[in-house]
Symmetry: C2
Subunit: 265 residues, 2 copies
């Protein structure tokens, strides 16, 4: 029998994925444990961890939930993982994506297949269409400009979201993440040139060329609340490339707040 | 006799420029008057304003200080300026730079020369060199990555600054401006992966292809205070392309706070 290991991040994605799997082994990065039973592991002991997976007949690994780059403790490295450090440190200079890709390569070199959310729970990734509400013309233009901004910033490995209102970029997602960016956009919402014009769109898309097996952008009911608190008209995202968690609850909250949710082609 | 008109924005740039000129006429956008005597004008009455300049023998116009896009009152337009509206509205869709460029074209069509800060007060634009402090290796890498980020975001007409710490982008300047971005970076400074590593660099550069006669990025003593409050190691910028206001005071505050100031090649 072969088994699947889930590397669980915080948030609602891991439980949703675990529910789709038959008796998975569930792990999490020490210091970033989600609110559920998991076996913690440390990146400083990656090689022994991979040995453990292989010893338990694991052949597939799923990353469920965002992994933040952990603070590494130089004294916690085992000798074999220590040999990987120069390689991963080099990659880190080019950003989170590059570092994570390097870690994934180490999994694959040990014959562990990295499995995407798309394979395990395709229903979490909405196909093209407006899920609720109705993006107006101004919103469509803002979504278009936001998509252009993200295609240009994508290769920089910065973030996966931005906020555009009336053609103006109010915020770009960076290391602090979506919630921090939406709070920033909300604090400065009075800068919209026309008080009666478009209220603005939060747009989300994966970085071009990013590894879709991990770290697909994720939105959910909390994102809806944050976008509503920022005074935005709605949320749009690249259809087929963004995970929507707790769809029913997200739709309910969007309807209550008068926001559209739009999986944009 | 020909005269120079200064369009004064808020901040210390306009007084510095006025001090270099012989008997200039000083104007400001209504609603954005700086703390000095100026004759206000409205963008909705741009054509009569240009007539007034020409009537007073003005041949050169200097934009001193950032101009925020004003909220336009449809009822305040005179008939001739109203004819320009479709043209300027079109340009606005592509961002602030494009809109401002379009307004400048209208000046030039009326034989008013737009004059850059470089022509009038070249000393305000530091040439290459470290002005104070010493950027370390980590800071140099952060400045390099920040410069790369701005060259990629520049064509998007978003902003002229970003903050990078330990290779990670903490913040990108958007419509709310530098102070808001540095406050954001400061709020999230605890995300730096290594607490003992590089504290991060605020980097500033003009957008590639931006009109250097107006809207060159500007820093000054307040910027130094804001970067210090954000816990950064220093400020770097594209040498020859950024205005440094009140240089002595900026240097004094940077020294007091232990920040470097670096006009980077």
């Amino acid at each position: 029998m072969t088994r699947t290991a889930v590397i669980a991040g915080q948030g609602a994605l891991a439980p949703a994925i675990i529910a789709q799997l038959d008796d998975p082994l569930v792990f999490s990065l020490e210091g970033y444990q989600p609110d559920m039973p998991t076996t913690p592991f440390r990146l400083e002991r990656l090689v022994p961890f991979l040995d453990e997976l292989i010893g338990q007949d694991v052949t597939r690994v799923v990353f469920a939930g965002a992994i933040r780059r952990p603070r590494l403790d130089p004294e916690a490295f085992d000798p074999r993982t220590a040999q990987l450090v120069p390689r991963i440190l080099m990659a880190m200079q080019a950003g989170d994506d590059a570092a994570l890709r390097e870690v994934l390569k180490v999994f694959e070199e040990n014959d562990l297949k990295i499995c995407g959310i798309e394979e395990i729970a395709p229903d979490l990734i909405p196909a093209e269409g407006v899920l609720t509400g109705q993006p107006g013309k101004a919103d469509q233009q803002d979504a278009e400009r936001a998509a252009q901004i993200l295609s240009a910033t994508g290769p920089l490995d910065i973030g996966q979201g931005c906020v555009v209102a009336q053609g103006q970029c109010l915020a770009i997602e960076t290391l602090p993440g979506t919630a921090a960016m939406l709070a920033f956009a909300g604090r400065h919402a009075d800068l919209r040139p026309n008080p009666k014009g478009g209220r603005g769109v939060f747009y989300k898309a994966p970085k071009p060329g990013q590894d879709r097996r991990i770290d697909l952008p994720t939105i959910g009911p909390d994102t809806v609340d944050q976008a509503a608190a920022a005074g935005l008209a709605g949320i749009a995202w690249q259809a087929g490339s963004v995970i929507l968690l707790q769809r029913d609850e997200a739709l309910r909250r969007a309807q209550a707040a008068g926001l559209f949710l739009w999986a944009r082609a």
